[in-house]
Point group: C2
């Protein structure tokens, strides 16, 4: 690893805009963007993927590897990624820092406490929770309805026992009511931090959070609890973007990590906008497959922040295509051209969808050592038949050098195919229309049905005059539909909206299809049991 | 503020043992002590106080000011303090970083997230909690009794609603059981971190935590849940001492912040031991008055860590003495020599008590601008009558210069009166004898009564072969007795032990007298409501 000061200097950041967290991590000042606001932006590239499968597609890996490859061919590039959450690291998933020769470093620290951003969000979140219950206990001058508090508590841990709890038991311990914890990355505060453009903006949005309803069913905001400044103070370091580097010394801004279902699943606007001032190319990613992640990237993040994405890279793998062609996980190692042919419908639909946002698309075949040459050639040809550029990416094995073909094709597309980026729907359309547009245009379902509870909330949102907010879909990532088992390119399905939630602070309407958990559980054998620390302080089993 | 690198260099710490957290905070490597283990230690001085009163005694202030004063007269000195907890900062108390011209800096950051130590403890604590409930949910191969889980959850927040909760509600959310949250500083993990001498020691102690009992009523330890390495990994940075500075650039190690009732209330052993290698004088403090804090400092921390304290400074104030002489809070501003005469019994008893530990005692009259000269002179004379050195301290107004008299008297005592430090009781005595010794020798009560529940736990501890652990008393700090209203120097009272808890990992037996809360609540007007952040990012209202 290079000293982070050196990595920062390489993109023109000097010590006055750099706050060191050890030798290899730093926070960048909010003034760094301010100083460069009149400079031209670099080109923003989204890395997204086909629907995820148990085989793993390598979207983060490709994002990191592509940023290395661009630097490798002489293009000044920064990657912009989300911060990993501690809960899943201790549960099922392991780290979220890439692998092989396309990793971000120091991986162990990034996966653990990093620069404390998520802990700060936990603190700000639970301060608001404590103030709500204290308000109920002390006098309840706001006439809060204890059974209509929608603000839950938060912890960065996978802990199913905290999903649904009763608080305030005992003689003098407050008001008894039902409550629950979500994982911190699902907190509206995380989404707010990722969408804010300044500390003032953050404070404003925190104030708009609806924490519950009063006895007249009128919304009560966080601002009314009079601690928005205190919450902002807790977040004033967390809002500053973090700088680290890849295994090849490429600068990476790792900042913000919202859940990709209950929130928009993209790294911070502040980090992305700063990266665009510091580099000619910025490679970023969005959570889940393109149907969820890319749609929210274009319709929520880019629209809100006034960003103009220049291209999208769709990560595909031979195995994931076969899986979407009906092959079971155990059979994925075998060559199977008919399954590839069938499963390619999934890829084709994602490509068409991305083109609807007006951006040129490049396909990246993330190559595995076990892939058969004829399969790779087949997928390559299928992509070319659609008239898009396609490249085989070997960044896991070869780092930036393994992504040169992809980088070169991307650069030529960026130079030759201008972006005509536009969001999918008009914010002024009715909420139901906006949802239907996403379902029919992106998912390719035939219709949407709304539960009575969802319709009731819709009415409430209209009454509050907030129906011009963008839509944040919460849906299984495994299928275009709302049923995980419908892989490939399903059609003629109806999407069932079970619930609608208003995130008035973050500024979007969450549309839940099916049962979305906001607090994960630990598996039978948690990843934590495999973590080891040796006598020299070396950690293994974390990634 | 000087750059922290400069402060570190001043005490011989070079960059390889320094991990920067911004320009003014740093962590010191564990190797820093190892490299100096054969060097002689500096002199360790405890700052303690008479029983606390609503007027405030200024123990932390005096600790900081005295360290500045010692440097002022040319003695190389480091202060060793506890880390503030975020919960009380947002609740009643405000910060814990001194005030006036005897503060530690950067005060705001130290009072907020600092270097993330307390957040790391919260994470490690709740990982263990999640593993316990996951174990119950998945298979319960350890045959844990769900109604005998003694390990609660933790948050660094004042949140009374979380004191007593029911978790695991809902269809698939685990096993329903009663539970509760404590504030993180009350976590046994915080006490363990503060008493550990190395990462290995920490890991060993974490493994010994008793999380509950099985269906045969046998203790189940954290080690049996197989995540001690993961917990240690979460704590591997938190165990490193933090270096900051005072308003006069005096180096201060701020590390660990255990509750002074449920735990021993002293800063970390690792931090204290390192400070003793780096300076000729180390000034540290212990929580609450001398009856609780100093007793635990001598009997738990120093005994466990093999430290030899050389002197104790007893902080007293004219107002606190009058309060202990029966004057109400509103009348403290008036001169009242008879009340001073009466209240001095409290001071005298603390002095005698400190002498029982074999250390020389110096009294520090923490001076307030509103004090009357005749009152100060009276207290001064009373102390001299007891044959101890006494000095008026003006560090709030004048910083180190205001503590020169105190520093000089302390230095002469350290040079002339050798320490014959010894703990109060022998660890091999029966538990009840050890408790009785503290009650009769220090509190000056006539006897101890034990509740049936306490007696039952005593039996259990004996059965486990752990009766040779030291005693950690949990008692009201406001009185020598277990009743807060018995101020001054009460006698002939009986101390009632309501409950006994075993902290097998921390290595002490907690003896609770009365109702000890481990999760504070927020007051009617929480301090959080007065915190402000202006457009330039300046924070007010935090301290």
């Amino acid at each position: 690893m290079k000293p982070i000061v050196e990595v920062a200097n390489h993109v023109g950041i000097t010590e006055d805009d750099l706050e060191l967290y050890g030798k290899y991590k730093a926070k960048l000042s909010l003034a760094a963007w301010e100083k460069r606001k009149d400079q031209a932006d670099g080109k923003l590239v989204l890395v997204t993927a086909m629907n995820p499968t148990p085989a793993g597609e390598g979207k983060t890996l490709t994002t990191i590897g592509l940023s290395q490859a661009l630097n490798h061919i002489g293009k000044k590039t920064i990657a912009a990624l989300r911060e990993p959450s501690l809960g899943p690291c201790m549960g099922m998933k392991g780290g979220a820092t890439g692998s092989g020769n396309a990793q971000i470093l120091p991986a162990e620290e990034i996966n653990l406490h990093f620069t404390g951003d998520i802990h700060a969000i936990t603190a700000a979140h639970n301060l608001l929770s404590a103030l709500i219950d204290n308000h109920l206990f002390q006098h309840n001058s706001l006439r809060l309805n204890p059974s209509k508090i929608v603000w839950k508590r938060a912890l960065d841990m996978n802990d199913r026992s905290l999903r649904h709890i009763v608080v305030g038991l005992g003689d003098t311990n407050g008001i008894v009511r039902e409550d629950g914890f979500m994982i911190t990355t699902a907190s509206e505060i995380m989404a707010i931090l990722c969408l804010s453009e300044s500390l003032e903006d953050l404070k404003e949005r925190l104030g708009q959070i609806i924490i519950g309803y009063d006895l007249d069913d009128k919304p009560v905001t966080a601002k009314q609890l009079e601690a928005i400044d205190a919450m902002t103070v807790l977040l004033k370091e967390a809002i500053k973007p973090n700088l680290v580097q890849t295994t090849e010394g490429t600068p990476v801004i790792v900042h913000g990590g919202p859940f990709a279902n209950i929130a928009h699943g993209c790294s911070s606007v502040i980090g992305t906008k700063l990266a665009l001032k510091l580099a000619d190319y910025v490679v970023t990613e969005a959570g889940f497959g393109a149907d969820l992640g890319a749609e929210k990237f274009f319709d929520i993040k880019c629209r809100k922040a006034g960003l103009t994405p220049q291209a999208a890279v769709l990560v595909i793998t031979v195995k994931a295509i076969k899986y979407n062609g009906g092959v079971t996980k155990d059979e994925l190692q075998k060559a199977n051209l008919p399954a590839l042919e069938a499963g390619f419908a999934n890829v084709q639909r994602h490509i068409e969808n991305l083109q609807k946002f007006g951006v040129p698309v490049v396909a990246a075949i993330n190559h595995f050592a076990t892939d058969f040459a004829e399969e790779v050639a087949f997928v390559n040809e299928k992509c070319q038949d659609l008239g898009i550029e396609v490249a085989v990416s070997n960044v896991w094995a070869d780092g930036g050098a393994g992504g040169v073909e992809l980088a070169e094709k991307l650069v030529s597309v960026l130079e030759e195919a201008p972006s005509h980026y536009k969001p999918l729907y008009d914010l002024n359309n009715p909420i139901t229309d906006k949802i239907k547009t996403i379902v029919t245009e992106i998912y390719r379902g035939s219709d949407v049905s709304f539960s009575p509870a969802a319709m009731k909330t819709l009415g409430k949102i209209e009454e509050l005059g907030l129906s011009d907010l963008p839509i944040c879909m919460a849906k299984t990532p495994y299928s275009f539909s709302d049923q995980a088992s419908l892989i490939g390119a399903p059609a003629d399905f109806v999407v069932n909206v079970s619930e609608i939630r208003l995130s008035a602070g973050a500024g979007f309407i969450v549309v839940l299809t099916g049962n979305v958990l906001t607090m994960p559980g630990l598996p039978k054998i948690p990843a934590a049991q495999h973590i080891r620390l040796d006598k020299n302080g070396q950690v293994t089993g974390l990634m």
